[in-house]
Symmetry: C2
Subunit: 595 residues, 2 copies
């Protein structure tokens, strides 16, 4: 029986309760969203004691399911004002899974607003909350370093230790603050980044969560043999599909830079062009060359059980670790979107974001907007570093910039602010790639590529093809992917398994076979899709209660009015089609008995 660990930060009491039977099939995002829907008033102040930070491994967390160690973090978002699930790699999810924890719910807030705590979970089931004022104001890396030292001195540390931390931006409750999760080598470089959840953690007075799993075993399965068979089937698919077995492990996610640039959908200088003349300087291929030459790590998994291995480290000229190999979205946001074509500068900016503890996407979209204002110039990496430094120091300017792209654009008078539901748009322009525009517009998360990654059929010819330049078929494509993604996020599976799932029927089968063999419950394809739909129904209805209407499911007008070179197209999916994406919700809500 999985348990919920409830931590009341106003009393520092920790309690355990069984996971309610109605949520027995939920994990990850399904659970964070169901809990946020059920326990957080839709009108709650995201930074107030009524909000709750919910941390959940997927249903397959703690098992050997390939790529099954993703972590969901949920709350009401200070950035969007709606529900949020931010998804992270790193080692924490499997650790929680092994502990039998379905979700940690962090609620309330300390009366002393300057109090700073660490929550610690030990392998024997002990949980405590300790004052940790020595960590105040520290960057994410330093926080982990100091915390490791403290724990080592108490003989708590081992290689099997995971940390979730916030940087100064989270302590200062900035809307672009994320939560850093440590990777297998203990670097806090995996991020539940989007939507300001670091600020929610900061509002709880929580600087750090430490999870010690030394000696814990993977979870038992209802049917061990069936589980192993399903794992083999799933692993076989992932290690066969071209994207998951070749492109991603070789070049990392940044393999997309040249591909999306070629497609004319690589947003450049605050979404003013779809191609960047300097893409070669920041592409995945270049990143690999530099890293190989400097002796860096060019392929590893962000968590145990990953068979794709798209992670890598970026190192300085002396071969020392600087930051994780910037993901495609980070290299884009801090690179092309800022007119910066120097991979070392992109890595410096990425590391700076990692220290401060802010979402690299929101940071880069903000910088693009800031540059568009003329306050600093496109291409000026040193000025961008300085701007990030203002955030870390919490200066007056930094408080504006740290609240993200929209706050910065309003302050500095920028015409084109690329946001939906107040959240910055990621690395794919919705004009030449119309499907992703449907996802940006309609996702419960605000502008979020991962919520329904239509790049698959729009660009990569995975799961069929849908012409990216035309409106036809995009709404259905986005809807299907949004449902499937919510399901993957609930299982705790990495979104990249979707490449295989979309092309290889046995991969989808393997997912419900793993779920069934692990839990002993009935699972089939319909049940998987129902899981996705239920997750989205909780989210959509929460957002309706929080005041969102159809008017919020729209792109900013400039995407409909200003043609993007080189294709010279605008976004042409109709409002009616956008409004069709969530048409399944009323029926599912009725099944769930929610409204």
């Amino acid at each position: 029986m999985r348990e919920i660990l409830r931590v009341d930060m106003s009393t520092l009491q920790v309690t355990r309760e069984p996971l309610p039977e109605k949520w027995a099939r939920y994990g990850g995002r399904a659970l964070t969203s169901a809990i946020v829907y059920s326990e957080v008033p839709a009108g709650a102040d995201p930074l107030g004691p009524e909000n709750k930070l919910v941390i959940a491994p997927g249903l397959l967390g703690g098992t050997s399911a390939p790529n099954g160690g993703r972590l969901s973090v949920g709350a009401k978002s200070p950035l969007t004002g709606g529900i949020k699930e931010a998804n992270s790699g790193g080692t924490a999810a499997h650790a929680l899974g092994k502990m039998g924890i379905a979700a940690i719910i962090i609620e309330g807030a300390p009366a002393d607003k300057t109090a700073l705590y660490a929550l610690r979970l030990f392998p024997d089931g002990t949980v405590d909350v300790v004052r940790r004022h020595d960590l105040a104001g520290l960057g994410a890396y330093e926080t982990v370093a100091v915390a490791k030292g403290i724990e080592a001195s108490e003989h708590r540390m081992s290689d099997k230790s995971s940390f979730l931390v916030i940087g100064p931006s989270g302590e200062m409750k900035m809307k672009s603050a994320g939560i850093a999760v440590t990777d297998p080598l203990g670097h806090p470089n995996r991020y539940a980044g989007r939507g300001g959840l670091g600020a929610v953690m900061g509002s709880k007075g929580l600087k750090l969560i430490a999870i010690f799993e030394e000696g814990l075993k993977p979870k038992q399965h209802a049917d061990k043999d069936a589980f192993i068979a399903a794992v083999r089937k799933f692993s076989g698919a992932l290690t066969t599909h071209a994207v998951t077995s070749q492109a991603l492990p070789t070049f990392g996610t940044n393999v997309l830079a040249n591909i999306i640039n070629e497609a004319g959908g690589y947003p450049t200088r605050n979404f003013s062009s779809g191609q960047f003349e300097g893409v070669d300087g920041i592409s995945g291929e270049t990143m690999r060359e530099i890293t190989v030459e400097r002796g860096g790590n060019v392929k590893h998994g962000c968590h145990t059980g990953c068979v794709i291995q798209c992670s890598r480290y970026y190192v300085d000229e002396d071969g020392h670790y600087m930051t994780k190999g910037p993901e495609y979205e980070s290299a884009w946001s801090l690179g092309a979107n800022c007119g910066i074509d120097d991979m070392d500068m992109v890595a410096k900016l990425d590391r700076k974001c990692g220290e401060i503890g802010i979402d690299t996407i929101e940071a880069g979209v903000m910088l693009g907007v800031y540059m568009a204002s003329g306050e600093i110039a496109f291409g000026d990496g040193e000025a961008a570093l300085k701007a990030l430094d203002e955030i870390g120091r919490g200066t007056e300017l930094g408080k504006v910039l740290g609240d993200g792209a929209e706050a910065t654009g309003v302050k500095f008078g920028v015409k084109n602010i690329p946001v939906v539901k107040h959240q910055g748009l990621p690395a794919y322009d919705p004009r030449p790639i119309q499907g992703i525009g449907v996802t940006y517009a309609t996702s419960t998360m605000g502008a979020d590529h991962t919520a329904g990654y239509t790049i698959t059929s729009n660009v990569l010819a995975v799961g069929g093809t849908v012409d990216p330049l035309k409106p036809e078929g995009q709404a259905a494509l986005s809807q299907g992917l949004q449902i499937a993604t919510a399901m993957l996020d609930a299982m705790g599976l990495c979104i990249f398994v979707a490449f295989a799932v979309l092309d290889m029927p046995e991969a989808l089968e393997a997912i419900h076979e793993m779920a069934a063999a692990h839990t002993g419950d009935d699972w089939d394809v319909d049940a998987l899709m129902q899981l996705g739909k239920e997750t989205l129904a909780y989210e959509r209805i929460f957002n309706e209660h929080a005041g969102f209407t159809a008017a919020d499911d729209r792109l900013p007008a400039f995407f409909l009015e200003e043609k993007l070179p080189p294709h010279d197209v605008v976004f042409t999916v109709t409002d009616e089609e956008l409004d069709s994406v969530y048409s399944f919700v009323p029926e599912v809500a009725e099944q769930l008995g929610i409204e």
Copy 2:
């Protein structure tokens, strides 16, 4: 003993309680802000049940104090996210004062979100809450007309009846929705307009508040003779000062159009110029000419006891009432700021706002931003009318526009969005009139000219002169006026008495003499200023708890960077000077025992 009337909209229970002794010297804004500070969590959802709508006459409400019938409405603002007091004329304040009501606190919210109620206060002390679904969706004028019919059929109506109503924008919880208050002839044309308080009323399921005062007498005074003597002194000053005895009664507030245009501070076409070539078409002088020619009313008070008489009606070509004579700020926002130079069109837009129930300032600033986006053209009144109509009908576009200037600017990609704390700037450009920029930047209310009306010394040579083009002395000027204004708002006095108060020592004396003679308490000049400071301390600290920092006490960057013709100046008051304005708060907070 004054009482608090508490209305719980979740149970429809009405209770009475004595005004706490600690607030015995408070009325109006002092009381709404102290109550909001004390009872509303700073992190509350402005549209949720935790927010409270507080309605309070001033300390002199219900007496014959000249110009003493202003009403304060307070809550946490859905537009700014901070505390809000919106101030209105009309007959309601004196009616509440006569009833001995210090404040109405409307709290909670009906479980049925479609429920719509009227709150009714009768002269015998009875209070009830009745379902009034027949009013759903009606405009403000029609609402009052229907309500009057219902009340007349129940023999409740008389000339001594006041109504507070919301239009459809308030029912739809739009952020520019205001609360209309009826004037002496029963037209709902006086507005507690700013900050979206109509949406707060809508969130309580309250469409209408009716106050019947037939037969009630003015309040008794502790020392009647002294009160009458002080009233004479005050009235004498008001009827002597050139602004309050000549300019305002003759031309109304719109006398300022030519004056501010002449000063180069008349924001034109979304704050892109300080002079409007079409000012003559919408000036107070022109308005008077047209009204006189058509046989309209050209001078009356918005409430009993007004000796200034700046109100007037605007009539159509047949001499029929259209709307109140648009105030200077409305004629500016719907006129010059939109490039519209036709008084009839301005009156149509003003009436439309009045029907929908939205703040004319936010509406005009929004329209200016919308026009700057190129979606509709500057000067196109018909398109502006149509845009307002979208708001009233609650279309998707209307939901964006109805949320005000910032939401519209972000949606439609407008570079220069003139807002502070998310609220649109009023009718004085802060570049050539730097003092008002200090008020916009620092006021607890967001951009608000009434909070510290430096036009006095900056332009009108009232209360001394401070060069409007230079930064020197502006912070001190704004600080003094913000404190004095908070005091006037607490007394329930019209802000226009300040013209006399600033120039004539006997006017200020008369205020504390009226207060002392009416209440029997000690009052002197220091006590008046302390009242203003305490009011601002409650507001400032609430805003700090709600997350505002020094970064929020700033103008958008374009006011510091883009020179405004004809003076070609930018705003040059330093951040340090802005930060000095509220330097008095810590000491006052300590005296109050608040933090």
